[in-house]
């Protein structure tokens, strides 16, 4: 055990791991404790970025870049759009019942205790080192198009269905509550006769 700890301390990889892990945990805790919604999204983007760094440490380069693109880019922006399209009053106005929040804290603490004890109690077998990082993207692409091609194609169908469903869901009220559309159109319809009138006035002048 002591030589393990020495190995832990001396390794440069573990130093990078600890810095990135501290960034991730601090970002997550800030996400919980901030009061403004946009600040929460930005601190969660910090978590996503540091997790991408951790993926780089784990020799998963392609997944790290996908993480930056999809999570830190797309999902954060999507959530910011979601925030901007809805109105948020003060986030934490202590309306949340103290008892419920305390119960959630205790439940999550218990969950973490169980997970931690399970992780500590397991004897992990040392694997033989495999070079996962060399030609990472090439090998992932080969795996995707040979062994996992059916889930890959199903995933494309799922993405298409989900995005069409998202568009329909976000649009449906627009068609249904069509009272908003004529309201916008009626001023145009009213203003439309105004234009010939002005022209007529100009012609008269």
């Amino acid at each position: 055990m002591p030589d393990l700890d020495l190995d832990l301390i001396l390794n440069g990889q573990t130093i990078a791991y600890f810095m990135l892990a501290i960034c991730a945990i601090v970002g997550a805790i800030l996400m919980i404790s901030f009061t403004k919604v946009v600040h929460m999204v930005v601190s969660l983007a910090l978590v996503f970025l540091s997790l991408a760094g951790i993926y780089l440490l784990l020799e998963a380069e392609f997944v790290a870049f996908v993480q930056v693109l999809v999570y830190a880019g797309a999902i954060s922006i999507l959530m910011i759009f979601g925030i901007m399209m809805t109105r948020h009053d003060r986030q934490e106005e202590h309306m949340v019942k103290r008892a419920r929040s305390f119960a959630a804290l205790i439940g999550c603490g218990a969950l973490f205790a169980v997970l931690f004890l399970a992780i500590r109690g397991t004897a992990f077998i040392d694997p033989e080192a495999q070079p996962l990082a060399e030609n990472n993207t090439l090998r992932i692409g080969e795996l995707l198009f040979t062994e996992h091609v059916i889930p890959f194609e199903l995933l494309s169908v799922l993405l298409t269905v989900a995005f069409i469903g998202a568009i329909v869901l976000a649009k449906s009220d627009h068609e249904e509550g069509s009272s908003s559309l004529p309201k916008e159109e009626t001023p145009v319809a009213k203003s439309a006769p105004l234009v010939p009138d002005r022209k007529g006035e100009e012609e008269f002048q």
Partner: protein, 103 residues
């Protein structure tokens, strides 16, 4: 080396627990969705850690995490669309005010 796997799993457990707490306590629906994304990220971290330090290290864990990321992106898009539709109907984005099913 196995201690590295344990520390990665511990980090994933911490992030998962924080995300779970956020889902249970936050009022804003956007933040609930974001906390779900955090939990999915913790799962991804587990998959990638096992793809390097598992018994048989291979790239399959990374492929699975790619699938998870794609499904999470679809889930986030549908979730935000449902949130916007609900907001148009109800005029609020707080999850504790969506209680139609409560008698």
């Amino acid at each position: 080396m196995s201690s590295m796997l344990a520390s990665f799993l511990t980090l994933a457990a911490i992030l998962f627990t924080i995300g779970c707490y956020g889902v249970l306590t936050k009022r804003s629906a956007v933040i609930v969705l974001l906390s779900i994304e955090l939990m999915l990220n913790a799962v991804n971290l587990n998959l990638i850690a096992f793809s390097k330090y598992g018994i048989i290290p291979s790239l399959k864990g990374q492929v699975f995490s790619l699938f998870t990321i794609a499904v999470a992106a679809a889930e986030a898009a549908v979730g935000v669309a449902i949130l916007i539709a609900l907001y148009r109907k109800r005029g609020t984005a707080n999850v504790d005010e969506y209680h139609e099913l409560q008698s």
